[in-house]
Symmetry: D2
Subunit: 291 residues, 4 copies
């Protein structure tokens, strides 16, 4: 167990009331939690590049009954880590054989795990979060078009419309509206190989990185723009964010309820599973405001 300190730049101390007091007062008054994660269910849409999510009950009630009449059921799950709502660790992507810290990507995984940049090195986050509702800023609140590349101008327009500038160390969530297809009976729609998927491209990723966030996220599987038929052939935003600028990426988030409630600024909480040496972790991020 480690203790870590998160301090957003440019903020001062409130005299007389400790931060702990503020936290305790907030939870005392009551908070509203927006669940930004997707349920993990068999058959949910996910990239076919990753092991499918499966769940079973090895033991059901009655399989074994204790002397006092008690019984228990348990689970087995098997899955890729980039399945459902998840966060990419810096070990996930390399460019020209190098990771973020300049290390050799192939050697970094020697032993079958990434000791230096694996998911276990992603510190839990309790930070200021900003939702950039891009479709609303574009006047098409339902969502962006398939394959649409969200530009720096679009992102700025959202900031302007919402009045939510991004501070260094924040977590920025980019809503494309594509999440509305997550529950579609045809899984391939949300995956969007043929149609393309909206999201930032290299320019938008660079603009985001320039705001100095700690992490970014989106409501699509791949986070960034996929052109129709391209699949994951090139992922420049991943390169910019994970390899060049050191910004975590959270994917397949559920952002529509947050947007519908008009909540653009919140306490963002994310606590990844500390999977030693992994390239990512399933997560269930939260946007927390007052009740």
């Amino acid at each position: 167990m480690t203790s870590i300190e998160t301090r957003n730049e440019g903020q001062g101390d409130v005299s007389g009331t400790t931060t702990t007091d503020l936290l305790l007062r907030a939870v005392g008054e009551g908070v509203r939690i927006y669940d930004l994660g997707r349920p993990l269910t068999i058959g949910m849409p996910q990239s076919p590049n990753h092991p499918a999510f499966w769940h079973a009950l090895p033991r059901r009630h009655g399989d074994m009954v204790r002397v006092d009449g008690g019984s228990a059921a348990n689970d087995i799950i098997t899955m890729g880590t980039h399945v459902g709502t998840h966060i990419d660790a810096f070990a996930h992507v390399s460019q020209d054989g190098k990771l973020l810290d300049g290390s050799d990507a192939a050697q970094a995984s020697q032993g079958g795990r990434f000791a230096e940049l694996g998911a276990h090195t992603i510190a839990p986050m309790v930070r200021r979060g900003v939702l950039l509702d891009v479709p609303a800023a574009l006047g098409t609140p339902v969502g962006c078009e398939a394959g649409y590349e969200i530009t720096p101008a679009d992102l700025e327009a959202a900031v302007e419309r919402q009045g939510t500038p991004i501070g260094a160390g924040d977590v920025v969530l980019v809503r494309s509206g594509w999440g509305r297809f997550f529950g579609h009976s045809d899984r391939s729609v949300y995956i969007g190989n043929d149609s393309g998927v909206p999201g930032v491209g290299e320019a938008g990723a660079t603009w985001l990185a320039d705001q100095g966030p700690h992490a970014v996220g989106a409501d699509t599987i791949a986070f960034e723009c996929l052109k129709p038929g391209s699949g994951h052939s090139v992922l420049p935003a991943h390169r910019v964010l994970l390899v060049e600028r050191g910004v975590y990426i959270i994917e397949a988030m559920a952002l529509d309820e947050l947007a519908a409630a008009g909540v653009h600024e919140f306490a963002f909480m994310l606590s990844p599973l500390s999977i030693f040496g992994a390239t990512g972790s399933p997560v269930r991020p939260l946007a927390v405001v007052g009740a």
Copy 2:
């Protein structure tokens, strides 16, 4: 995605400053996060009753290189949900064939998952948390003896010593000190079948439930007292908490750092994976205070 409201009973509103403001001010000033979860590593101590945790990299960097020189690595994990730091859902335990809500436990799992009381029904938590450092209250701060049953008097002594009464809706973490054996090279030590493991028994669990918490947790695999050689033959605290009183149980937590820092009251955050119909979920809970 759902939005939920958490309000601890008996708290009033602070005029003039919204709860959202309090939260944003807190994260702005900077928070210190205590990670209450254990890393997930191959070979870590866990109950043999549950599928072992395993991790592998199906894809390593270089296995597939994109046209622009980018490459990615990914993971497969397989595990039981009651492995490592985890939370028990109400579907986990039954008594005389019934679950918490009186439903038939065997029928509740029809279809291979618990639609009503599965892990997906555990709402994410952002609540007041209290750590009861029992060994410190007993004058043996390193830890309780193997197989020691923590009594209501012990729990009250901790509350008294710390000055941290428990409020309804809080999350109460009971430190036994047994967590110091988690990293022992002999896995069986932490599992403690032969030695027994300290923890509350039926009386302590009842006392806890009477304080009206939303969830309780401990630094042992089984949460409750295990007598030497008994293993999991009877688990009365599970019955009291999960089946009778509707209080979640979090197990195998890391509590020593929190105790060493003397932090007994904090904002507690836990966001379980929404594994549909499961009996539990691996978690990485957080204790958050000011930086």
Copy 3:
């Protein structure tokens, strides 16, 4: 380890030469082995009702090097047992809540495994095998039409054309020709939900059972006829064979090479994994003749 005895009815002893001698002479002269199984590969066509097959190398060469310069790589696999070429155990299917032996199907799985009729009770087979090349008998050697129901008359025609009567205790393989779609780039073609899949229906299954075989097999996932759009809504052949008549079913076999070689009678060998209490096992059956 168990030893079992297989004797096909109606055969006599050859004086002077033991059966062991015959076997040793055969292997001494050289045998030709037709592999009737499909390779297990990620992404192969399989029923979505069963956990997907996945494979990864947790350890690659160089991850750990021994003092003498040796190194090893290993695997993790996760799969359903009814994936790829596999055999159904009698525990697999029930009718009106009963298994083959009249036992209660729900109780039979208490404890999370079928102690009485699980895959571990399928004895390894070394028996006379007969391939019924139905498309050839019908004059359309490439294959039967999608959704075509192979009738008793069709099966008899194949026996007649080939001159291979079925003896009690034999293993009968029914070729539909559908196996030619196994490697199709569109996985859904072989699965055949929309198109339907050829195979025997209730009548053909009954005819087969009346010949007294020990097991039957086919080159489709479901063994029996699937009407277009029906999927696995009703599977009468499974009922007849597994629940009523006690005949094992082998699915997703590769039979085209055997048929192309005109081999209709052979020594059939199948050795399922002895997965305790499972409902089936992946297998790699063999048809063996002289070289």
Copy 4:
């Protein structure tokens, strides 16, 4: 599906009777099959270096009932391939970074699987098999001592005592007697880290290879001699057989029943799962003689 030809050197054709006739006559007369594999059960002894075997029933009867009253149960399994009775592929072991065919071991696994020397390249075997009952030859029929190295002289003594010379292309099974501990309630006994395990060493492996077999096997997890406390620190027999001489190794076999029956020569059958690119496969080998 592939057809392959296996011919043991030095054997002639029997005029007038085809090999196929011999095979069909043998199965017609009735064969006795000795199962040389171990059941796959949760908790069975296995090397901790490999993912544990687990099995569960995702679906039990009644979870889903068809319109006609039929229902099915199915499985999920997860395991390493070097678990239980299994065969090592040539991809499994390297020496100084090279595999059997001189290829670079690290590059050979690029893409996460061994395309050239993986388990899918192990042809199914129907060959003459020889059991060398070493303990019986040594006068201690129950078994060799823990950590005893079986020497070329021991192997020759067994051949001599039994009158079963080894021919090129045969499969040679070396019984140590250690298999009697497979079912021991203390799993660590069969694994034998502390006690050591009997088996051939480099000299015995070389002697075996010099006989020209196609594969060898033993009744221990590691096939070769393990000195007390050494574990798998060096495995010279693996190097000799898999990397230098190209002889497959089968491990954790059940050989005691075969030995007790005095069967030293038989038709040996082994059909590995064709797991693409894997380093091994679970198997259930058979020794077949007349009934």
